[in-house]
Amino acid sequence: MTISPDNIIFWQWGTVSLNATIVYTWLVMALLTLVSWLVTRRISFGTTISRWQNLLEVLVTGIRDQIQEVSHQQPGKYLPFVGTLFLFIAMANLLNVMPGYMAPTGSLSTTTALAICVFAAVPIYGIAYEGPLNYLAHYVKPTLLMLPFNIIGEISRTIALAVRLYGNIMSGTVIVAILLSLTPYFFPVVMQLLGLLTGMIQAYIFAILAMVYIASATSAHAGKPGSTGNRK
């Protein structure tokens, strides 16, 4: 039984291999971009808008509101990063209902890549917000003794971020696979539905946590690192 889509190789040329993770990631990317392009190609500035445009506006507005709620800052500069995290993970998990599809988020490689992106984004946003010295000063607060703990906290929460998403999605896939062999027909469908719900919640948690980490680095009064609690 294959657990990770990394192990499914579609095409290999020397050391370069094209596995299912990358292919399905491209599928998700293509779907998101295509829908966005199709809808915003004939975007309306007036008061009458198409349903698709309405859907996209609701999505974007919702993400902006969430970002504002968490960061208490203007959502403009965080929207592309945090919004894309949410949309990508949510879409990747939603497509799980498609037969033959394997969520790229079920691969530790993908979740690690996303966690590394967040890990990099936190200092980038922090330095952009208050300058490199002020940002780095956070690591030696309240005393210099706290420096190693702060660094460990930073790394550990990144790992937690990656493993949480991977574990949840992978487990969903694995549970369905196991149940299919034990009690076919009905029960796996319920688990699939549960998987959809879990996928959406994980997408939300991942994006919100990323935002919380970034916000803790950019808000002046947030001296201590953001929450690293293992929620779910």
Binding site: M29, T33, S36, Q53, E57, L79, T84
Partner: protein, 260 residues
């Protein structure tokens, strides 16, 4: 549970590309559209507000104009009303004056006619009474009317009360003129002598007496001494009769009430 680091780096690149793609095709257009719509709505609201304000001002202007118009109309109505009232009063006054004039004219005419009628009546009555008296006296006592008048006058001269007597005497003494006796008819010598005698006996002895005739007396005889006067004639009776007749035919007098 293994990490393929080539896949990880590929996924990082993929993710960054997706960020750029979505920024390019999703976030920017959608946010731009929303902002533009917001602006549009705001400007439309502003416009609507401005239009509403304008309409409000216009409405107030019209309100003022309407009030002005109403006031003007009321003024004109009141003016016209007053004018009509004045004209009505003027016409009424004119009509009343005309009526008054007509009535006055008619009354004057009536008075004239009445006076004429009375004058005629007086003369006629005097003549008639004179004739009746004359005939009656002649039939009854075979005495001339003139004789009777003279006798009556002498009788009156003799029975003058003290006060009248003194009055006549005083006035005849004060004036240098003689005593004048006027009669309607011609007095013969005997009658004159009798009258002179009576004057001398009752008034002033030896005073000169002049005789003359006048139609005004209306069948009578009168004595004038200075300002004093004594007379007997039918004019008094006729005057009384006239008064009675006038009273009888006067429209002012109610029947049964007597007016002096």
């Amino acid at each position: 549970m293994s990490i393929d680091w080539i896949t990880v780096s590929a996924q990082i690149v993929n993710f960054l590309i997706l960020v750029w793609l979505l920024k390019r095709f999703l976030y920017q257009p959608v946010i731009r559209a929303m902002d533009r719509r917001e602006q549009q709505i705001a400007s439309q609201l502003d416009e609507a507000q401005a239009r509403e304000q304008k309409a409000e001002i216009k409405s107030q202007e019209y309100q003022v104009m309407l009030t002005e118009l109403e006031r003007t109309r009321d003024n004109i109505l009141a003016e016209t009303h007053a004018k009509a009232e004045q004209q009505k009063r003027q016409l009424q006054d004119e009509a009343r004056r005309e009526v008054n004039e007509t009535r006055e004219h008619w009354q004057r005419q009536f008075q004239l006619e009445k006076a004429e009628f009375l004058s005629n009546a007086r003369n006629q009555i005097a003549n008639t009474v004179q004739n009746i008296a004359r005939n009656a006296l002649a039939d009854l006592a075979d005495i001339e009317l003139e004789e009777q008048i003279i006798a009556s006058f002498i009788n009156r001269l003799g029975s003058l009360d003290q006060r009248s007597q003194t009055l006549i005497q005083k006035s005849s003494r004060q004036s240098s003129e003689p005593v004048r006796i006027t009669s309607t008819f011609k007095l013969d010598t005997a009658a004159r002598k009798r009258l002179t005698h009576a004057v001398h006996a009752n008034l002033v002895d030896g005073i000169e007496v002049e005789y003359s005739e006048s139609a005004e007396l209306l069948c009578g005889i009168a004595l004038t001494a200075g300002e004093g006067q004594l007379s007997w004639n039918l004019a008094d009776y006729i005057h009384k009769l006239n008064q009675d007749v006038e009273q009888a035919i006067s429209p002012d007098t109610q029947p049964g009430t007597e007016k002096e």
